[in-house]
Symmetry: none
Subunit: 189 residues, 4 copies
DNA sequence: ACATAATCGAGACGGTACGTCTAGTCTTACG
DNA sequence: CGTAAGACTAGACGTACCGTCTCGATTATGT
């Protein structure tokens, strides 16, 4: 009854993922339709429904696919913890600023709120690696022994997401630096 | 051309707001339709479109309406800053834990991502008061002079929203306490 | 729940019926789609589904609409029964020969085979009047008293339909004349 | 490029024909799908498309296959023409009355209307033998010299098909008898 | 008190996308 | 090569909502 992955057409898979990302950049998430993806990819709708559960699942795959080939997720360790963290945080700010990347993230975030299964995948396959990389760097740098590393990581990313999500203020490098400074104050001896 | 608020039917307004909240609780946000609201409220669709711009605007009104009668948004000042913050943070965690309230908040947050105008209203009418209350308490309590209060507030709420949004871990009182502890370390002398 | 005929748009009704007949003539019945009708008529699909049960029902309406304004269904009585019958039978042959009319008839006949309700309507609203007209003429003309008029009518039309349906031979005026001659022999004293 | 009949699997052919007839009886013609036939027959779809042009062709083959083993198509000649004709006509009525057989015949008749090639085959391979048998009996019995035999045959079958196709009245033995009586009046001296 | 104008309930309308279904073609692995 | 299996492109199906647009039938002033 279910589809056999061995016989799956790689050609179609690629076309769908590419089309989805293209259209997302062009039209925004809420105007993104499965029919448009199918049409752009030159693919039958059924082929999409055969392999994915919906828009969110496609975008997730597209994103995983796009980032998998990217940089090894290991943070540089220059010896200066604050400087290193500033680098990551500023990179994150840049990601939020990029309309294309931001659109994708928004798309996934939206879908995530209604789809527990998808939320899991996003968390484990996209987010966790990024957070863990920071966590590893924290472990190395000089921090107080009693600090919960997971909490420390979220102390860094939390404010950034908060500002992106709720537009409580400008999301700039300066803001990132400020957050890092506070966090450093919180976790170093 | 625009509608005259003076002649607006309060009866219909109430029915729509109530129906919206009921249906939101029953079916979740993405399955919530204007037609269902109209039908449940015993109201013509045009009456909805005359006064609101879409789902998000309705929910926002409903939420404002529901919370307006609530507690005055002034944090108690017991003299113990950490304890006071723990109280607010735990209250926020409780809000996120309540499935019904959480659903509503999520609903709004979703819509916010695609609707700049709505985002403004949510930020200013719902969020800001809460954040400002915390900000005021911080001002009173003993904190370092060089700390940016807005950043401080987001240092507190950011991690909570992060965890709520991305499910990176359990959203418990203990977590709230940990965040407060770290934040206190960051902002007190 | 059901639609209110009073509020029906005559404009749409006309457009749909016209589009259906046009497309039927252009593409043939099995290539005729509801979507094409809707598109050609500049109408939403729902408007079609609101008022008709399917392709067959549309065609039926279109046909009734087209024939309603036509000739009063009374056969001329010249006093010469055989001549009068020849006239009707030849007219029927001509109808079968006209590709456009024939296509419509075929379409209806097909749909009829799977839809008892439609079959009834076709029979009562399209066929019966035609048959009854012939019946009336037979009543007037000189025929044997013991002849069942319904059987007589079908003795005339049956062979024509048979030939049209099953292509057992050419459907010409000569054939019509032959059938009339045989029928006359059967029913006159 | 075309398939080589020599290598054809008789096993598959049988399974397909049987499945087609079964499904036809179960679901009716318009709900009968090639996929269902393939699945029921345990056969790949390609195997069907390799050897048949579509539903109609399969049903035709199935029907020919089913009737080929049947009675030799020679009408008995008791010397009483009217009685002999009554026998055939009543048999035809019985065929139409049997829902299963009737369904199959209708199915083919439908397809015939859209497929000239199929129409030919149905006419020549299924219908003609039956008509010819009656024609032969007419030749023997006492009829007027000037009667066109083909017309005479259709004078008999036409009304029956007419009533079957258009449901203009009950299709009973009495009706068959009536038709025979009229036809006899038309063609005997 | 009454005309008059806007709001109201209802729901038909032109559209768009949904997710499903089947047609007919193409690909893969087996015998 | 023919076959069973089933993935593929294509596109129609009938449904659900969208946001706009008539319709009377209430209101609700404002002269």
């Amino acid at each position: 009854m279910t589809a056999d992955p061995a016989r799956r057409s790689e050609r179609s898979r690629r076309a769908i993922l590419d089309a989805a990302l293209e259209l997302l950049a062009e039209t925004g998430y809420s105007d993104l339709t499965i029919e448009a993806i199918a049409s752009r990819a030159g693919v039958g709708k059924q082929t999409i429904y055969r392999w994915w559960r919906g828009k969110g699942a496609i975008i997730l795959d597209a994103l995983i696919d796009a980032t998998s080939s990217a940089e090894a997720l290991v943070l540089p360790d220059t010896g200066d913890l604050e400087a290193d963290l500033r680098t990551v945080m500023r990179a994150t700010v840049a990601e939020f600023a990029d309309p294309k990347l931001s659109a994708t993230t928004r798309a996934l975030t939206i879908e995530t709120l209604n789809d527990e299964k998808l939320a899991e995948q996003v968390r484990d396959q996209l987010l966790r690696p990024q957070l863990d990389a920071v966590k590893k760097r924290l472990q190395a740098g000089p921090i107080r022994a009693d600090v919960d590393l997971d909490q420390a990581v979220e102390l860094l990313f939390g404010p950034l997401y908060h500002r992106w999500l709720l537009r409580t203020g400008p999301l700039t490098d300066e803001y990132a630096d400020g957050v890092v400074q506070l966090a450093i104050a919180a976790i170093t001896p």
